[in-house]
């Protein structure tokens, strides 16, 4: 496996802040990986996301995205076309009054030829399941549908990586599920590398790997099962573990012989039936 994103000892400080938002983070993201990033508010997750997209540049350390370092305007621009970004608030990402125009916005900025824009926008809207809304007004859509339009706009640019910065935080359960499974589909079927920043543990459980940020540092990384088995540390960082891991923790504490790394209902049911 080869890295598509390489972060080496990266730090970043906002101008007005005393403390660095990101401190000496080193992280490799594999090509085709679905990486979840967890961390409480202010832990540096979103700053890391902006660094990946070259929206901001490291104060210290080196970063490379698909082999490109953000050394000048051209390379930063190139990074942004290869690494798309979907933000938290669906309403802040819509720029146009018609869905397909919104979706074409990035391509127009890139100077893509009109016929090619037409083709890519149709294709992207179909891929996110929003083709029938191409001529709708975004404000008539639900939050989940708006996010899918935002994703279509990114997909139309044919990125190799998409960073989702809490893109499901403001959605209802159905919207959340839709957007998450869309990201998984893009990952599995199109091989797009996904960096998925979230507060929802049940989403993180389904990632290939989980990285945990705390106070600007990368403090844990590993398979979800591995990471969530450290319930006490995870909680100390203001995070949660999945409900089934919580239940396993309580039962283990009371002397029941269960593995520490249970994450799902199925696993818990199997283990409990074994004990009965």
């Amino acid at each position: 496996m080869s890295s598509i994103i390489s972060i080496q000892n990266v730090s970043f400080s906002y101008e007005e802040a005393e403390d660095s938002a990101v401190k000496g983070v080193s992280l490799e993201v594999e090509k085709g990986e679905f990486l979840a990033i967890l961390g409480r508010n202010g832990s540096g997750k979103s700053t890391l996301a902006k660094l990946l997209n070259a929206l901001i540049l490291p104060t210290d350390g080196a970063i490379s995205v698909d082999g490109i370092s953000p050394t000048d305007e051209d390379s930063r621009y190139e990074i942004r076309t290869r690494c798309g970004m979907v933000f938290q608030n669906p309403d802040n990402q819509i720029v146009s009054t018609i869905v397909e125009e919104d979706c074409a916005f990035g391509l127009e900025n890139m100077g893509v030829a009109p016929q090619e824009i037409r083709r890519r926008v149709d294709e992207a809207l179909a891929r996110v399941g929003m083709a029938e809304y191409a001529l709708s007004s975004p404000h008539m859509l639900s939050g989940g549908q708006k996010q899918r339009v935002a994703i279509a706009g990114v997909v139309a640019m044919r990125p190799k990586i998409i960073v989702f910065d809490e893109s499901t935080a403001m959605l209802d359960p159905v919207g959340r599920r839709d957007v998450f499974s869309l990201a998984r589909k893009l990952n599995r079927e199109e091989g797009i590398t996904i960096v998925w920043i979230t507060h929802f543990m049940e989403e993180a459980v389904q990632a290939d790997r989980v990285a945990v940020m705390d106070a600007g540092r990368l403090v844990m990384q590993g398979a979800p099962r591995e990471v969530f088995s450290h319930e006490a540390e995870i909680r100390a960082m203001g995070l949660d573990v999945p409900e089934m891991t919580q239940l396993a923790g309580i039962l283990r504490g009371a002397g029941v012989n269960l593995p520490a790394d249970i994450m799902t209902c199925d696993e818990m049911a199997v283990e409990l039936c074994r004990l009965k």
């Binding site: 409480r40 935080a169 209802d172 159905v174 239940l247 309580i250 409990l272 039936c273 004990l275 009965k276």
Partner: protein, 283 residues
């Protein structure tokens, strides 16, 4: 509330019946969860509770006041029912925290020491350090800003607090803090109506759930009874908590799990009762 219906944009191509013949009664001191997918009518429903919307069909009676009546005392209704919208921190606007919290009661005509006292109490109830009173609300963290917004509603000393997804968008620690605050409001004697998307939260916290689907009440019952319809809930785009899912599976396998289990803690207790020995033997 009896036979309430509400139609948006009547007579336009966008006409939509947001509420359709909704009836229920909420007793003083209750803790009610309102759930339903986006567009099910939750927001329309709660905006009727403090007469921001007045019934077009049906009636809403708050503490004896019929909000549809022409001469209804809406000021009293709004003083009785405090409404906290989603992401209420976006509505802060004053220069200091104190002034923002004081805005509501001041509009209701409260002045002087009484105003001071109400603001102080509200800030204490939401756990805001009095020292923050002179700060700009915009210097605070997201969770604190939300507390300021909630304090602003509490400062009007409503009997009923209606909160639309109070924990939305917060991180896990912030969520837990916010939900504890809601619990505290209920313990302090407020009637609480909480809109939520989290089945886990309402299953753990509420005594009663009202489930809306396409503007109609689909269920109005205890969490345990509502969650005993997992298939219907799924068809409505809703879910049941993981603990309830597991409880259903385990009952099928012959475990004895009481029907009223709707939280991880309750499930753990039920399991420990019958697993204790097997677990120990294996330990």
């Amino acid at each position: 509330m009896s036979h309430l219906s509400h139609v948006y944009m009547r007579g336009t191509p966008f006409e939509a019946r947001a509420l359709d013949d909704v009836s229920f009664t909420i007793e003083d001191g209750a803790f009610v969860g309102v759930i339903g997918h986006t567009g099910s009518g939750k927001s329309t429903l709660i905006t009727h509770l403090n007469a921001l919307l007045r019934p077009e069909e049906g009636r809403v009676i708050i503490n004896g006041i019929d909000t549809a009546a022409e001469n209804a005392d809406l000021k009293t209704v709004r003083r009785t029912v405090g409404l906290v919208f989603q992401y209420p921190e976006y509505q802060l606007f004053e220069e200091t925290v104190k002034r923002d919290v004081a805005f509501g009661p001041k509009n209701l005509g409260v002045t002087g020491d009484a105003l001071e006292k109400q603001v102080e109490n509200a800030m204490a109830l939401v756990g805001l350090d009095p020292a923050l009173g002179e700060k700009s609300p915009f210097e605070l963290s997201g969770g604190q800003k939300r507390r300021v917004a909630i304090a602003g509603v509490l400062a009007m000393e409503p009997q009923v607090m209606v909160l639309d997804e109070p924990a939305a968008g917060l991180d896990p620690a912030g969520r837990a803090d916010m939900l504890n605050l809601v619990k505290k409001l209920h313990q302090a004697g407020k009637t609480v109506v909480m809109v939520s998307h989290s089945m886990e939260d309402v299953g753990r916290m509420c005594q009663r759930l009202i489930v809306l689907n396409h503007g109609k009440i689909a269920f109005d019952d205890t969490p345990a009874n509502v969650f005993s319809h997992p298939r219907e809930l799924e068809e409505m785009g809703l879910d049941v908590p993981q603990s309830v899912k597991l409880a259903i599976r385990l009952r099928e396998k012959g475990f004895d799990i009481p029907q009223d289990v709707t939280s991880v803690a309750a499930l753990a207790e039920a399991l420990l009762g019958q697993l204790g020995k097997a677990g120990d033997a294996n330990a």
